[in-house]
Amino acid sequence: MAKKDLKGAVQDNVVWKSIFRPGSIYRKGYRDTSRDRALAAMNNVLYHLHPVKVKRHGLKLTYTYCLGGLSFFLFILLTITGIFLMFFYTPAAGAGTEVAYLNMRDLSASVTFGQLVRNLHRWGAHAMVFTVFLHMARVFYHGAYKPPREFNWVVGVILLLLTLLLSFTGYLLPWDQLALWAVTVGTNMMGFTPVFGDQVQFVLLGDVEIGPNTLLRWYVLHVLFIPFITVLFLAVHFWRIRKDGGISGPL
């Protein structure tokens, strides 16, 4: 009885009701009826992503394997862990001031949960590249890019490219031998862009070769610029899913 009274006291006041809109499962009087189920979706911020009802076959795990949703979730997870890492990282390099690399050492040695969060960020990044690839393959084999979803496939390819760029720009930040030379392989190729090769390389490196300027530049790209562009394309991607009639199929 006391427990029920407490629940009522928490739920039945102005503040609680202002937070949870009618139909929310946390609001007093939610009942498992068709009406409240519909309201639960409709009066929730998730209504931006999901309609009130979805096709039944889309629930089957083997239809989507949740790949698109997981890619998005990994993006969120990487944002959170990335913000944590930003507190302990300075994108500075150069003879005598190897701050970035020292920060990496400190992160694993003396920051609470530093190593764990860095691991999560690293493995999460690889996982996201992987899920985005798989998501693309899933969409292809279901023919889910067919009209009216052609343009959303194009947006998806751009998002794949952005994912790769996010991962690649982050690869340089530890400023160890692995990072430097892996990135060198990539940026050398960019130098072979026809006509503007040298200019492209200079803009991306901030120098004729990878150095402190490159680190700062790729840091800004990694934590600000590319995530920003990615969010814009994600918004279009999700919006088009709903506008194009939700999940594709059934086959």
Binding site: P51, R105, M136, Y141, D176, G191
Partner: protein, 280 residues
């Protein structure tokens, strides 16, 4: 008015003088002539005032109630305290409602404020062509909450758990400090770019690093516009599926070769002989 067209010559000449076409000038001049004739007869112009409209309606009702209307008779219920035709007029009905609600009886307003000059008709005929016909097939659907959201939540938790376990046992690599003057023996791009690095082995850097990736990206984006086959069923799109599978296998093979079968100096090695030259 006689049969022949009466026109107001003065108006006609003025409009022609203003450069209006003969047809318009004639029509307006004719309208002006009609207006003048009506004013001469003492008729009022413009929309009818409200009182006049209700008076006409009242006349019509009386005529109908006294046996003129067939429709009202057939629709009338037998007996009761209904009006003359066995049916309440809107005014009577309004009066009853007002009385039952304890309000003072007011003159029927017909939905128009009594003070207003004109009546407005809120009635329109909609042609069948104006109705949007949506022909959608009934689909088997379920509520997003709880069905879909629960599945998503479980998937999300599973991935989080997986990543946490992996992060607990496997540490992200951190090599020695970057040194531009010391090229490591094994020098590889991240795994998702290993396909390109492997291509670099066979082609000029411009082809492997710029042209081919560009072609792949544009090709991928063009897929929906090239594949005109409307069917999404695997049975009907064997060519598309085969081509894409071939592309994926080819790409996966390049990544695997580059990641696991290349060692120092990017030469071919067997990982069980020389060890795994691969870092995630």
């Amino acid at each position: 008015m006689s049969d022949e067209v009466q026109i107001d010559q003065e108006v006609y000449d003025r409009l022609i003088g203003e450069g209006k076409s003969e047809r318009i000038a004639r029509a307006k001049a004719k309208a002006a002539a009609v207006r003048q004739a009506k004013i001469a007869e003492g008729q009022s112009l413009g929309p009818k005032p409200a009182e006049e409209a209700s008076k006409k309606l009242e006349e019509f009702r009386e005529k109908a109630a006294s046996g003129g209307g067939v429709a009202t008779k057939t629709a009338a219920p037998a007996g009761g305290d209904a009006g003359a035709g066995g049916r309440l007029t809107p005014e009577q009905r309004a009066a009853r409602v007002a009385a039952s609600l304890g309000q003072e009886q007011q003159p029927p307003s017909m939905g128009v404020p009594a003070s207003s000059e004109h009546t407005h008709r809120l009635l329109a005929l909609v042609p069948p062509s104006g109705i949007q016909q949506v022909q959608a097939k009934q689909q088997d659907k379920v509520y997003t909450w709880p069905h879909l959201l629960l599945v998503e939540f479980v998937a999300l938790l599973a991935v989080t758990a997986l990543l946490l376990v992996a992060s607990f046992f496997l540490d992200a690599p951190l090599g020695s400090l970057a040194n531009p003057n010391e090229v490591p023996a094994i020098n590889k791009a991240p795994w998702y770019f290993m396909g390109l690095q492997e291509l670099l082995r066979y082609f000029h850097p411009m082809v492997a690093g710029v042209t081919l990736p560009g072609v792949f990206m544009v090709g991928l984006m063009a897929v929906p516009y090239v594949d005109k086959n409307p069917s999404a069923h695997p049975e009907n799109r064997k060519l598309a599926n085969m081509a894409f599978t071939f592309f994926l296998t080819f790409w996966g093979l390049l990544v695997i070769i580059g990641s696991f079968l290349r060692g120092a100096g990017y030469e071919w090695v067997w990982p069980w002989v020389e060890g795994l030259g691969f870092t995630l």
